[in-house]
């Protein structure tokens, strides 16, 4: 849950203006209280103006807000900035706030003693605060001291988070890392001539030595140890200090931010940090485990909230434009081609991907091109999720006491706590998902890449306002969640995906039978293994469902056990995905193309005549 609340409301809020200054676009939203609830009134956007020739972030913010003014006929700006609080004549808003990822966002290096313990905890702290982690340095990372020093010198992060050791434990190793940082004399990315901020969140007994090593060379800050004992991870103080330094150093050095900061009483927050807060608030509000993904041009962020665990990872080089070639590089051309139901020359495909990289703002004009782009996105999402699962793990190095009940569920330390059967809400965001011409395409990309199990509500973020709603939730959670539910999320519908088979099942074998009661009518669908079925169930509608998996499959109650529940509709409908978990596409090309066309047709993914053409080839 949100750890900091630097600003407290002292009046009733009926109108909120929030901006997100992204790396390319600044987006403004206006929220007002309409009757008893808060709703999105309108939005505006304009290019971000951090770069030359403008070099003033407020110019882009003003342009985006001006669009809101034009659309609503209200006056929100004067020569000083956003008018707050609202004037009796109706001009202005009650509160203004902003998030930012402009100018490359927050870039950090983290260091710890053991790579899979304190260094991993430090990485989680930095990522959760909204940073891009440029590198993780640890005593046991396999690099020689001079290689580590060289690496620290090369990177020009915005700040470093250093941790290591439990309180009262050995100090030698963490001091050794501090000495390497001291030797490297790292310089900050912004503000030539300034000292680099370094946050120390390690063994408190080592503080005097850390001070000796680093105080003269960097801007050193001390916070509580993030692993005071082996069994406990306390990330709050480190994250809070990261946010403070983000404001003091990064934002203060970025062009125009001092002016922007003067417009708002709420500290500016890194965009991904705000999205993380939005996800945590949503998880609490809906009482569901949540996974959210934001696939951008350069990076893919994955967020997860399972019980008390919140995690965020950034796959810095998996994206749909600037880093699209890296998706190709990491997954290989064969893995992209397996989602394409027609023949394409490999060289041609590679050239097309490169051309998207160098002209990142173009959009697919032909259906073939759209299918290729969505195939690449499946792989980018899949790889980003694998990366996320590798970091969303229990604390390593911790001995767990096991009971007899744990015998069959060996979830030891260091294993991912992401339980796909427990996942209740999967949210997709980013152009390729939010702007897919048919919503079913977004649903299918999420199903193929994440492979949720049991019952999961699929959703997309309509216009990517989660950053603004995240920062708003730190001061007004109710307003934030009302807008999130009614205006931000587009619910695609529940997916029912049996896990299994537990033994050798063949395509066409019985998998799941679903009895639905909708508006007094009963629908019964039997979906065989290897197939998908889409049932119309509109957004806002609920259905009573009795789900009977066959004995090799499980929908949450155990293999072969029936689940009685309520399922929610959506703009796509209710998807019964009986392809099995974990499923893969067939290796044989002809069979694969046939299956892809079958699934795409079942989901009504693309125009029927086109799919017919592919089926004939």
């Amino acid at each position: 849950m949100p750890e900091e609340k630097a600003f407290k409301l002292d009046r009733e809020i009926t109108s909120v203006l929030a901006t997100d200054c992204g790396s390319t676009t600044t987006k403004a939203i206006l929220i007002e209280k309409v009757g008893d609830e808060y709703r999105l009134i309108t939005r505006g956007e304009a290019p971000t103006t951090v770069e030359a020739p403008f070099e003033d972030v407020t110019a882009g913010a003003r342009n985006a807000i001006r669009e809101v003014e034009e659309l609503t006929g209200k006056t929100l700006l004067d020569e000083k900035g956003v008018i707050t609080p609202r004037h009796p004549d109706g001009s202005g808003v009650d509160i203004y706030m902003s998030t930012s990822s402009a100018g490359g966002g927050l870039q950090m290096m983290v260091a710890g003693v053991v790579k899979t313990m304190t260094a991993e905890s430090a990485a989680r702290a930095a990522l959760g605060a909204g940073a891009i982690v440029m590198d993780v340095i640890a005593v046991d990372d396999g690099r020689k001291p001079h290689e580590k020093i060289q690496r620290i010198r090369q990177l020009r992060p915005d700040m470093i988070l250093l941790s290591g050791g439990i309180d009262g434990g050995t100090i030698t190793h963490v001091v050794e890392i501090a000495e390497l940082i001291s030797a490297a004399e790292p310089k900050p990315r912004l503000g030539i001539g300034y000292n680099l901020p370094v946050i120390y969140a390690g063994n408190k007994d080592a503080r005097p030595h850390i001070n000796n090593s680093l105080a003269k060379k960097v801007d050193l800050r001390m916070v509580d140890n993030l692993r005071p004992v082996l069994e406990k991870e306390v990330l709050g103080p480190a994250r809070e200090e990261i946010h403070n330094l983000f404001m003091e150093h990064v934002m203060a050095q970025a062009p125009g931010y001092n002016k922007l900061m003067s417009w708002t009483p709420v500290p500016i927050m890194p965009t991904p940090g705000a999205v993380g807060i939005c996800m945590q608030t949503a998880s609490k509000e809906y009482d569901l485990s949540v996974i959210g993904v934001d696939i951008g041009g350069a990076t893919t962020d994955v967020f997860s909230v399972f019980g008390e665990f919140f995690n965020r990872t950034v796959s810095a080089n998996l994206g749909m434009s600037y880093s699209i070639c890296n998706v190709l590089l990491e997954t290989g051309v064969a893995n992209i081609m397996r989602w394409i139901p027609f023949d394409i020359n490999e060289g041609e495909l590679r050239n097309r991907i490169r051309n998207k990289m160098i002209r990142p703002t173009t959009i697919p004009q032909t259906l073939d091109d759209l299918i290729i782009e969505q195939a690449i996105s499946r792989e980018a999402l899949r790889l980003a999720f694998i990366h996320h699962k590798s970091l969303a793990v229990g604390l390593r190095g911790v001995h767990r006491q096991r009971t007899i009940g744990d015998t069959f569920e060996q979830t030891g330390s260091g294993e991912t706590y992401i339980d796909m059967m427990d996942l209740g809400l999967l949210i997709g965001s980013g152009g390729v998902l939010s702007h897919a011409p048919r919503r079913a395409q977004a649903a299918m990309m999420l199903l193929d890449a994440f492979q949720p199990e049991g019952l999961t509500m699929l959703a997309v973020d309509s216009i990517f306002m989660m950053p603004q709603l995240g920062i708003l939730s730190t001061v007004h959670a109710k307003a934030s969640m009302q807008v999130f539910d009614r205006d931000c999320l587009i619910k695609l519908g529940t997916a029912i995906a049996p896990a299994g088979p537990s033994g050798g099942a063949k395509d066409g074998d019985p998998c799941v039978k679903v009895e639905l009661e909708v508006d007094g009518n009963t629908i019964v669908e039997e979906v065989p293994y290897g197939s998908i079925k889409l049932i119309k169930l509109e957004d806002g509608k609920k259905a009573k469902a009795i789900i009977h998996p066959s004995r090799q499959f499980d929908v949450g109650k155990g293999y072969g056990h029936t689940l009685e529940t309520t399922v929610n509709g959506g703009v796509v409908g209710l998807t019964i995905d009986a392809r099995g978990r974990v499923f893969d596409v067939p290796q044989d090309k002809a069979l694969r193309n046939r299956k892809l066309v079958e699934w795409f047709t079942a989901m009504n993914l693309y125009p029927a005549e086109l799919l017919k053409k592919y089926a004939e080839v």
Binding site: S23, V175, E176, C325, N351
Partner: protein, 373 residues
């Protein structure tokens, strides 16, 4: 946004060009405002701290870290030469001697009694920044660098690899459709920038490197040829630091792509001129495209300034930058204001354009770029 369009790449005979030449750390600026500079003029210099070396003296001597200060032969701040004794420990009444020698020339920066490590700092490394182009120092950025201003021809490519270099331009092909293969690369291309047409092959790049050419400019390159030349694949579009002998600039894209007529004709006119080129490309916030600059070039005729203040208007020359018409040059016919449904079923802003063969096609506005002059 009323004027939403992709501005495209600059291809112009006459432009005012400003280049910021900045040090990575604060240092000393060596030229004054108004000074005339040439590409190899050093405009600013600084020393970056020398490479540090860590030596674990406690481990090497077999003593406790807290005791190492007693055994140091050179104290903190003292200078030492490579091979000289850094620390010495005698045991058993002086009968056994253990020594640690310095692996480098440098200064003892820190002796840690916690870890037993000693940090040695090698001599500072001088860094200097040159002017890159012929021009005048327009502004001095105190302790950081300068802004050099020049006037001349300026061409931007779409993608490049390799850093800054200078050479004389030689057009090696007849027309913009022609492929630059090894046969067109001549032994006297040493020190030159070779201009191709629609494609440069891997063999041509290899030959260019053999003869000592410094740059190549062509319309397109095959993805696998680029990987072969670099020796590795490219994941993200940040280039310019590759350790390669020939800077390669692509003007149109990947695959065989006819060089835009206007670009090719200008490069022909620039034949024999000395150019400063840079392959560095960065396609994200703070977009950087590869460039060819010919300072001092005087067009033979007065060229009209293109008015881009209106963005796309009927008659605007453009290039289509995505399938199914990728690479084709066209002219705007009309710009319907309302969103339209295209083949993908997406509702987008489109324009109608006339291709070179007279065909009228519909294209999303996001998929065109204005050919800028």
């Amino acid at each position: 946004m009323a004027h939403a369009y992709t501005p495209g790449l600059k291809v112009t005979e006459r432009a005012v060009i400003r280049k910021t030449r900045r040090l990575p750390l604060l240092g000393e600026v060596l030229v004054e405002k108004g000074a005339a500079v040439s590409p190899d003029t050093i405009v600013a210099r600084t020393d970056i701290p020398g490479n540090p070396q860590t030596v674990n003296v406690a481990n090497s001597l077999g003593v406790e870290p807290e005791d190492i200060a007693d055994f140091m032969k050179v104290k903190t701040g003292g200078s030492i030469k490579k091979g000289e004794i850094l620390a010495e420990y005698r045991s058993f009444f002086g009968l056994f001697k253990h020594t640690v020698t310095s692996p480098v020339d440098g200064v003892v920066e820190m002796v840690s009694t916690v870890t037993g490590q000693v940090t040695l700092r090698e001599p500072p490394i001088p860094i200097q920044v040159d002017a890159y182009i012929d021009g005048i120092v327009e502004e001095v950025l105190p302790k950081e660098g300068v802004i050099v201003k020049t006037e001349g021809a300026f061409i931007q490519g779409i993608f490049g690899v390799g850093g800054e270099t200078q050479g004389v331009i030689r057009v090696a092909v007849e027309g913009p459709d022609d492929v630059l293969d090894e046969a067109q690369v001549k032994p006297d291309d040493k020190g030159k920038i070779i201009i191709g047409g629609s494609l440069v092959t891997a063999a041509a790049i290899k030959k260019a490197a053999e003869v000592g050419a410094l740059g190549i400019v062509a319309g397109g390159i095959i993805d696998s040829d680029l990987i072969e030349y670099l020796g590795h694949d490219i994941g993200v579009a940040i280039t310019g630091h590759e350790d390669i002998p020939v800077t390669v600039i692509i003007t149109e894209g990947f695959g065989r792509m006819r060089m835009a007529h206007r670009t090719f004709e200008l490069l022909k006119r620039l034949q024999g001129f000395r150019a400063s080129i840079n392959g560095a490309t960065q396609i994200r916030a703070g977009v950087m495209r590869p460039e060819i600059i010919v300072p001092g070039y005087q067009p033979q005729e007065d060229t009209k300034e293109q008015d881009l203040s209106q963005g796309l208007v009927p008659g605007t020359p453009l290039r289509i930058i995505r399938e199914p018409y990728f690479g084709q040059l066209a002219e705007v016919v009309d710009l319907p204001p309302e969103l339209q449904v295209i083949e993908t079923e997406a509702r987008v802003r489109i324009l109608r354009a006339k291709l070179a063969d007279g065909t009228i096609v519909t294209v999303p506005r996001a998929n065109v770029e204005i050919i800028e002059a």
